[in-house]
């Protein structure tokens, strides 16, 4: 373990370690101090971060572009509903326990990614990006048409998760005189999932699979000659990335408490690509930073629209907060590649300690300290 820490540039007693520990502590006590809206925004950010890690494994680390990420988020979200739903609302449901439904939903996302693997394995880079457009349209078509499964246009309600006898719904639980509803409980679940997701992805990237993935990105032919089965690896990373998306979808569904088809459109896929470019391609910390940035931006703008120039509430003639957010992250994508190759993760890695070594950024997760409102930022175009 100490060797891993040393290699990643972290040393016991270094400021980064203390900073990370402090950030973790802050994250753990936040539910005691923040109101529901802020917590919900934080949970969106966590889900976005999980999904962004997934697509960063594929696009950032392996060089394979995907526009189909929203599809796999949908598979996770709707898969959870279908596995956990009890059929009382007239929609197909197996009535499985929530935790099992969540696990199966993630597995189902992986399976969906695997079904696409003949294409995901053989197409490279931007070619795959175009091919995966098909997933968006297939997804939207199924979500709107398969009423019995998806509830069609109106979507379907998300059954609450239960784990170890604890149900993640709004039945109040008093912890240290603070009432814990769904968001407070989910907050800890989200943190745990994100921590697990971060550690797993880092392990993958720093180990044998990560080296092979980077080799495929950097020099596809040399990678093959070095003994890496390129197509099989591309397909495997696609599956892994889909599973991260599925997990993000499950978490999103639990937070929204309702899944609606138009959320999982093309704009959502574009958002995820924006996240990883802004945060830093190929790095886990970058995915988290970008996920938090892009998902919190519209909510921040919404919250403070009165105080900001040009921005105003929808329908009043100015630029709506959602649009302003899209201007900002669209411009951020262009600007980051121009002026800050490596993204936020590189920026953070440059500040303390040695420069260079962009592959081992050490930003702790950004603390979502000023989130607001419940509105999701993605919408179908």
């Amino acid at each position: 373990m100490s060797e891993i820490l040393t290699r990643s540039g972290l040393r016991v007693g270094s400021p980064a370690v203390y900073g990370g520990a402090a950030a973790c502590l802050v994250l753990l006590v936040l539910p005691f101090y923040l109101d529901r809206f802020w917590l919900q925004a934080g949970l969106f950010a966590m889900a976005a971060a999980l999904g962004a890690i997934g697509i960063n494994l594929l696009t950032g680390a392996t060089g394979q572009l995907s526009m189909g990420h929203a599809f796999f988020l949908a598979v996770g979200a709707y898969g959870y509903c279908a596995f956990a739903g009890d059929g009382a609302d007239g929609l197909a449901g197996l009535g499985l326990p929530g935790w099992l439904a969540a696990v199966l939903a993630v597995a189902l996302s992986g399976l969906a990614g695997g079904v696409f693997s003949p294409i995901a394995g053989r197409l490279r880079g931007a070619y795959l990006g175009i091919a995966t457009l098909a997933l968006i349209f297939i997804g939207q078509h199924v979500l709107f048409n398969a009423h019995d499964l998806t509830g069609g246009f109106n979507g379907r309600a998300v059954p609450p998760l239960s784990l170890f006898g604890l149900t993640f719904d709004d039945t109040e639980l008093l912890v240290a005189q603070v009432p814990f509803g769904a968001v407070e409980k989910l907050w800890y679940l989200g943190l745990a999932l994100l921590l697990g997701g971060v550690l797993f992805a880092r392990g993958v990237l720093r180990g044998r699979p990560g080296r092979a993935m980077n080799a495929i990105r950097d020099h596809r032919i040399a990678a093959g000659v070095m003994g890496i089965p390129v197509a099989r690896y591309r397909a495997a990373v696609f599956v892994l990335s889909s599973m991260y998306a599925g997990l993000a979808g499950v978490l999103l569904a639990l937070v929204f408490q309702r899944t609606v088809p138009e959320y999982f459109g093309m704009a959502l896929s574009l958002e995820y690509l924006a996240m990883i470019v802004i945060g830093g391609l190929g790095s886990v910390a970058g995915a988290v930073a970008g996920g938090v940035f892009v998902s919190l931006l519209p909510q921040l703008l919404n919250r403070y629209s009165d105080a900001l120039p040009l921005v105003s509430a929808p329908g009043t003639g100015g630029i709506a907060p959602g649009e302003a957010a899209r201007y900002l992250y669209g411009a951020a994508v262009v600007a980051v590649v121009l002026f800050l190759p490596g993204g936020l993760a590189r920026l953070a890695a440059r500040r303390p300690g040695k420069p260079g070594s962009g592959k081992s950024p050490k930003t702790p997760m950004h603390t979502p300290n000023t989130p607001t409102t419940t509105e999701p930022s993605g919408e179908a175009r």
Partner: protein
Amino acid sequence: MSTFAEFLINGISLGSIYALIALGFVVIFRATEVVNFAHASLLLAGGYVTAVLHDEIGFWPALLAGIAGAAVVGAAVEFFVMRRHRGADHSVLAIVTIGVDILLATELTRRIGTDILALGDPWGDSVVTVGGVTIAETRIAALLAAGLLITAFLLAFRYTSWGVAMRAAAENQETAALMGIRLGRVSIGAWAVAGGLAAVAALFLTVFPTPGLERTTSLAALKAFPAAILGGLDSTTGALVGGLLVGVTESLATGYQGDLAFLGRGIGDLAPYLVMVAVLLIRPAGLFGTKEPARV
């Protein structure tokens, strides 16, 4: 039988429009090796310019203005954004065009709002009937315009110095540069031409029987992507064949959707993507794409 002929002719007409869009997309790819995900927004920009100007200056000047406008937007994207990134990884460049697309699409959809804009075309909803087959005049105009433009383009690509420079740059950028070809001009030219072609396509995607230009027009334009890739991203022939294939598939699937009801509503919009997936499963490089021999 005559219904089938109608569907087929409409499909070919629609397909020629997709081919027009896909051609521009392929031109950018060949000149710069960049997959331009902002292409649908270029199209929307051209259509928007035509839509807002036609009342004041008349349809034909407005159409020219739309073509010029989209060409300028394309050239500006190349000059102010893509040119600064030259040398970056191609996947990263593709994502940069996604950033550009987010910016352009947000601006245009904000301006268009929920409106449906007419482009003021002279054909209206008139139809011609030949031997029991009824075809809208707009479809005939589309077919003729696309055929003319594609022919002109292919001739230019083959015989003008610009075309030669473009093909040389596609072959090998470094060598082309050493031979005195100005890569900057080739690439800005490609973006401008692609924008112009997309603006013409915008007209024909929004005339009868479509109600007009709206924010979702870019979704229709997106079908040029499957057209381009199933033909083979680096092949102009592929763009034409791919465009026609997508257009005909869409037209037939929409026409017979009564018989395809079990597949759900709107199967016509999905069909092009299904065809793309089917083709890629069999030929990952597309129908006419070259499996480039690696230079190592």
